[in-house]
């Protein structure tokens, strides 16, 4: 038979236990071209066992040198590798405890766009973990700056917004401090649905603290949101409903929403009742947010008056099977029928 059969563009892989250490040894010694070695490593790391071996063998630190290599292909592959690491909990924790975050944040300004995209993938992976989001909080101003520069492609924008929303869920203050709300408001009217979805999600995270709510009301975001509530994409509608829900908690939000005639829109969203389980599950979030928004709006006298007429609709929702929707509907009814 012929010699070792390898896929093109990949280095030879040793058998069993030695596969990962050998490849890392090759990386360390820097023999020849590093890209095939990194490609083989990428293939191997998909296997959880090998990933565990990489993490516990302490090989992650070696990747730091590769991150600072001159060849953009090497950097891109290394970032791909790191992104695969973030797919597992041990990998995420190893990344967080290693010193790789500063070089990664420097690579945000890298010259090659594919490198930047991969770095964003890595950061997004890290941000899914709460501890990771916490560690990424110092980077938030820089990320906001990147967002405002608007020279990135759509995919990168989506990733950036997703990272920002994860970080803002942990702590929204840095993003608010760097003018998050106006910036995201501009992104809400982007042409691509994924960008709108992520921007709305980030806005929802930002509107949790009171400052955020006030800014949302002041910066004229609510009219845009009312448009988004009638968007085609379900996720966009869900997230927009979430922002309205958060904003309607403060009095200014309530009055603005009532002025903009948000109530009928929300009621429309509630009244659609698809029959399949799958669709129902996906709409669950939308229904919950709408109910909560209506509850907040019902605390204003004008809203209460309007909603009292719509009481049957709400009562129909109490017959829903899902526990959370049931509870939310009951709360809504309670608030609507409250008299001082």
């Amino acid at each position: 038979m012929a010699g070792s059969v390898t896929l093109p563009g990949r280095a030879a892989v040793a058998f069993g236990r030695w596969s990962v250490p050998l490849l890392f040894g090759q990386l360390d010694r820097k023999e020849g071209c590093l890209v095939p070695v990194l490609a083989s490593l990428c293939d191997l790391i998909h296997d959880p066992e090998k990933l565990y071996q990489t993490v516990t063998g302490g090989f992650v630190e070696q990747l730091k040198v590769c991150l600072e290599d001159e060849d953009p292909a090497v950097r891109r592959k290394t970032c791909e590798l790191l992104q695969l690491l973030t797919g597992h909990s041990t990998g995420r924790q190893a990344l967080l405890s290693s010193s790789l975050l500063p070089p990664l944040s420097e690579m945000l300004d890298d010259s090659s766009s594919s490198c930047r995209r991969n770095v964003h993938l890595v950061l997004n992976g890290i941000a899914q973990l709460p501890a990771g989001a916490h560690a990424l909080l110092p980077l938030v101003p820089k990320l906001m700056l990147k967002l405002s520069q608007e020279e990135e492609e759509e995919e990168v924008e989506v990733l950036l917004l997703s990272t920002l929303s994860c970080c803002s869920r942990v702590d929204a203050l840095p993003a608010l401090a760097s003018d998050g709300v106006p910036l995201l408001g501009r992104k809400l009217s982007h042409s691509s649905p994924s960008v709108r979805r992520e921007a709305a999600a980030a806005m929802m995270a930002l509107s949790v603290p009171v400052d955020g709510k006030q800014q949302v009301c002041e910066e004229q975001i609510l009219p845009v949101l009312v448009d988004l509530l009638q968007d085609d994409d379900l996720e966009v509608r869900t997230n927009a409903a979430g922002v309205v829900m958060n904003a309607a908690i403060i009095t200014a939000g309530k009055s603005l929403s009532l002025e903009l005639n948000v109530l009928p829109v929300l009621l429309d969203l509630l009244s659609e009742r698809p029959e399949e389980e799958e669709e129902r599950r996906r709409r669950k979030a939308l229904v919950l947010y709408c109910l909560r928004a209506l509850t907040s709006l019902a605390e204003a006298p004008k809203g209460r008056r309007l909603l009292r007429e719509q009481l049957p609709l709400l009562e129909r929702r109490t017959e829903d099977r899902d526990q959370d929707i049931l509870r939310a509907a009951q709360t809504a009814i309670r608030v609507v029928t409250w008299t001082p």
Binding site: A2, L7, H46, G242, T251, A285, Y289, E299
Partner: protein, 338 residues
């Protein structure tokens, strides 16, 4: 081990000595083991056995320590033997040296002459093989035919069949790719599950967060409202109290002050603060002047009367001096003296 139990050495006489310390007898078994296989050696080939004539053998001297005289005697003997040999050599008869111009040669005197030469007659022979002729081809050995005739032929493509050869390679390639893709798909599924779970959690969390915030807000509003109302109430109460106090104070002051005015006026008038200016003026200016003038007038009169009195006194005294009485005095002379 430096101190061995036994030691042997060659002493200067050339003898071999051996001495050993007493040793305890080694314990050995009571019964001998069955005799091991004995190797019988041939005495003829045993090196330890002396061969040949033993008369002239060099035997070891019986004395182990030959003394110095013996050694010297032996050396002398040796020297004597050597000397004797040399002497014998000297005494051997030789032919005298040849005279000048002559030469001695050896001659054979036998009947038959022998050639004495050291040159060994040798003949040179040489042999040369014939030039190699090409070996004629061996005639084809065709053995008698035995067995069956069979023939085989390699057809085209039988040695190497691409399809079968490529299969293992394909298997490896496809297997690796499939394995890799399986891993990746599993990983993606896992991630998708995780994300779905995370999303569900996030939704619930957002929901509950909104609810919590709404309730908080409600609480805050109600509390503020309550506080405002309480503050308002307090304000009202305070105002009422203030007005009551004011009214009471007003009444009291009125009462107090009602009697104040007449009293004040009375006391002022008593102290003389109300006066008629003309009267005052008269009092302060005119009257003192008047009084002063009157006083002055009176003073003058007083002075004049004093003078008069003094004069009278003087006159009186003069008259007394003169002894005259008053009745005799003449009124005109009074004025004279003046």
């Amino acid at each position: 081990r430096m101190a061995l139990a036994s030691h042997s050495h060659r002493d200067p006489g050339g003898t071999y000595t051996f001495s050993s310390r007493p040793r305890a007898v080694e314990s050995r078994s009571k019964y001998r083991e069955p005799p091991a296989e004995q190797y019988y050696g041939n005495i003829m080939y045993d090196r330890r056995v002396v061969r040949g004539n033993t008369y002239a053998q060099h035997i070891l001297p019986t004395v182990s320590q030959p003394d110095l005289a013996e050694v010297q005697r032996q050396q002398a003997v040796r020297k004597r033997i050597l000397a004797r040999r040399r002497a014998a050599e000297q005494l051997r008869l030789r032919t005298p040296e040849p005279l000048q111009g002559r030469r001695h040669t050896d001659v054979q005197t036998d009947l038959f002459l022998e050639e004495l030469s050291e040159v060994i007659e040798a003949t040179d022979t040489e042999c040369q093989t014939d030039e190699f002729l090409d070996r004629p081809a061996t005639p084809l050995f065709i053995p008698a035919k035995t067995g069956k005739d069979a023939e085989t032929q390699i057809e085209e493509g039988e040695l190497f069949n691409f399809d079968t050869e490529v299969q293992p390679i394909l298997e490896v390639l496809v297997g690796k790719t499939v394995e890799q893709s399986l891993l990746e798909v599993m990983e993606e599924e896992e991630l998708a599950c995780l994300r779905a779970q995370q999303r569900a959690f996030e939704e619930l969390r957002n929901n509950e967060l909104a609810e919590v915030q709404r309730l908080q807000e409600q609480e805050r509003r109600r509390r503020e409202e309550k506080e405002r109302r309480i503050a308002q109430q307090k304000e009202v109460l305070k105002k009422e109290r203030e007005t009551a106090e004011k009214v009471a104070a007003l009444v009291y002051t009125q009462q107090y002050l009602s009697s104040l005015l007449p009293a004040v006026f009375g006391s002022l008038r008593d102290h003389g603060y109300f006066y008629d200016p003309v009267e005052k003026d008269i009092e302060t200016n005119f009257l003192p002047w008047l009084v002063a003038e009157a006083h002055a007038n009176l003073e003058k009169r007083h002075a004049s009367r004093e003078l008069l009195d003094s004069k009278i006194n003087l006159i009186n005294s003069d008259y007394l001096l003169l002894g005259l009485s008053v009745s005799q005095r003449r009124p005109q002379s009074l004025f004279q003296f003046k």
